[in-house]
Symmetry: C2
Subunit: 381 residues, 2 copies
């Protein structure tokens, strides 16, 4: 046997982490009940008890998304993994794809759709704005896409894209409708079936109050029909829904990958909290705390980047950085002096906005009060 090199055999101290209040674009703080659930004993990925719990997660997701889609499941990865799953399964090489770009995450969809062989067209608005129905319709007529992709809550800008009626418009133009609901699920009104959305995905660490790592996705019967009639295999094996379905559905469950029981426990608990509270109460809570934040910001002479309150994401607010203020230094000071995490903008909005999240468990009046007080001291002292 070769010699074991012990140069790297460092022993690091027992884990300790600061008690951050996570008011950035996600993750939010994990709900204590989710932490507790996640620590329950690990189960095998084919244990009948785990399969039952997975079925409950599917039911709870259907409620949270307001959909009857049978093909509703969880990807073993972060929201970005679920985004790639949506794109990889829906787009075939040569498909005409139209992406509405109102910020960074729309741009990411463009990049992914291109990697999976889509002929990608884009329409774009300034970061902070959203599309009108007429603009969408004109683009559908112009590009005749097989798939339209839109981000519901664009976390990079704080803008909430209205989705009602777009699905029906897509279907009238023989087009499938994919939406990113990473930041909206569990935080803002979302009606997948009513709005005729064909594919949606989300994450665990925002509106659902879980750690990152397990990401919901759902496919309408229309989307499944396209998937089942693909001419090419899905480019990715890990994200291939045709291979994941026999694991998630049916009488004989067949191994695909080692699903994390502990993340299923977490997601089930986060979704139980949504169901217990009820969607309407939950959406109202996010809206009320957002209003409290917006009023407090105005009292500090700070301006929201998205001017129309109806177009703001209730769980993620972008605030303009006043002239002469160093955005990064302010965020760093909040982190170091108050253990509060907020984020800056990036790309087009780098240095120009802060991004403040009030998501899931963190959407509470006491967090708004603390942040406003800390922000006032940091800015005005």
């Amino acid at each position: 046997m070769p010699v074991i090199h012990v140069t790297q055999q460092q022993t690091f101290p027992q884990l300790d982490v600061p008690p951050r209040l996570l008011l950035g674009p996600g993750p939010a703080n994990t709900h204590p009940r989710v932490v507790q659930a996640m620590g329950m004993p690990t189960l095998g990925h084919l244990d009948p008890v785990l399969l039952t719990l997975m079925g409950e997660v599917q039911e709870l997701l259907r409620y949270a998304w307001q959909t009857e889609n049978e093909c509703t499941l969880v990807i073993s990865g972060t929201g970005t993994a679920a985004m790639e799953t949506a794109v990889a399964n829906l787009v075939e090489p040569g498909d005409v794809v139209l992406v509405g770009v109102i910020g960074y995450f729309g741009q990411r969809l463009v990049e992914m759709a291109g990697r999976y062989g889509g002929k990608v067209h884009t329409i774009a608005k300034a970061w902070g704005e959203t599309f009108t129905l007429a603009e969408i319709e004109a683009a559908l007529v112009q590009y005749q896409p097989a798939i339209l992709m839109l981000v519901h809550a664009e976390t990079s800008t704080g803008a909430l894209q209205s989705l009602a009626s777009i699905g029906a418009l897509c279907h009238a133009h023989n087009c499938l409708f994919l939406t990113d609901s990473v930041t909206s699920l569990g935080a803002a009104p979302l009606f997948l079936d009513e709005w005729e959305i064909d594919v949606a995905y989300s994450c665990s660490q925002k509106g659902l109050s879980c750690p990152p790592g397990a990401s919901p996705i759902t496919f309408s019967p229309r989307a499944l029909h396209k998937l089942e009639n693909r001419k090419h295999k899905v480019g990715s094996w890990y994200f291939d829904i045709t291979l994941l379905r026999p694991y998630w559905f049916g009488a004989t469950r067949s191994y695909h990958h080692t699903m994390s029981s502990n993340m299923i426990y977490a997601l089930r608990e986060g979704l139980r909290l949504v169901a217990e509270e009820g969607l309407e109460a939950r959406w109202q809570c996010h809206q009320a705390n957002a209003h409290m934040l917006w009023e407090g910001l105005a009292a500090l002479d700070l301006t929201c980047h998205v001017s129309d309150p109806a177009q703001r994401i209730p769980s993620l607010t972008t605030v303009r950085v006043p002239d002469g203020v160093d955005a990064a230094a302010t965020a760093k000071q909040l982190l170091h002096e108050y253990n509060i995490e907020i984020a800056g903008g990036f790309s087009q909005l780098a240095g120009k906005v802060w991004r403040i999240g009030l998501m899931g468990y963190n959407s509470r009046a006491e967090n708004v009060a603390l942040l406003l007080h800390a922000l006032e001291r940091v800015l005005h002292e």
Copy 2:
């Protein structure tokens, strides 16, 4: 606002799970210290404290793998995600790839390499056997591959492929060497640099005693050179190492996806346990408990599927199912009467073997004793 459908607003009871002893092919039971670490407060994916912890995980992984590879990091997904990351980054369309297939996971590499455009050739052995150095050399001469892929510990068969000298042989033939160490890391001797392995990946839920969901991967300078000179973008965005490196390395960390702090805590703790025990002691422990199992199985007149003990994986034993015994019924009885999970075989070995894992935290004499006793009662009463 549309009407909220409450038909799916089911409330499920508080989570409860049975206290399984996980003696299948993984996951193993999560170490209590890992559970404790995982429950610490969530941190943002760009928090300086998390970035420090990620650096510690990288150091600890280099020790566990016995490598000085700078490009050692963690994929946010299961071992299968890390496998796909290895393949997606190393294989370019048109590359000649040689895969040694000694079981299911070799076959999976064939499938993935094909999806990423490789011109794939295979050599194969019966499930339970391994390749000799001469067989590998003959295939390198015949196919002149750019990449050779081998599974170190083939979990579907219980066979441990000897890897010493193969890397040097590959490099003499101008070929890169990729190995799957999903089941061997932290359980069986593994010397990445000494054995000249260019790309290796693993998982969290076997030798490292964590839940599934965060998967180590490492690239040698030779592998990075190929990656940096690719003509085509990596097919997957989520698994693209050229995008992941700016998040994991360098002075300015840039966002790629939302890494789970809680899984980093888990992995750090699992790897700390490896470093505290020391690799040599850990490998000896796995070997000693495997021997205890093998002797106990022989006393029950049961035969190991891999005849040569030196070619058996110390952390995963395949046992032949005696004539007239229903393999699935036995496993089910162990689960329901004793809360012990073992697994059956699949594909070529379906119904013919059981697979018994003694991995990481579960590699303990008391688990062997309990299993042998329970197995005897189930088989002979």
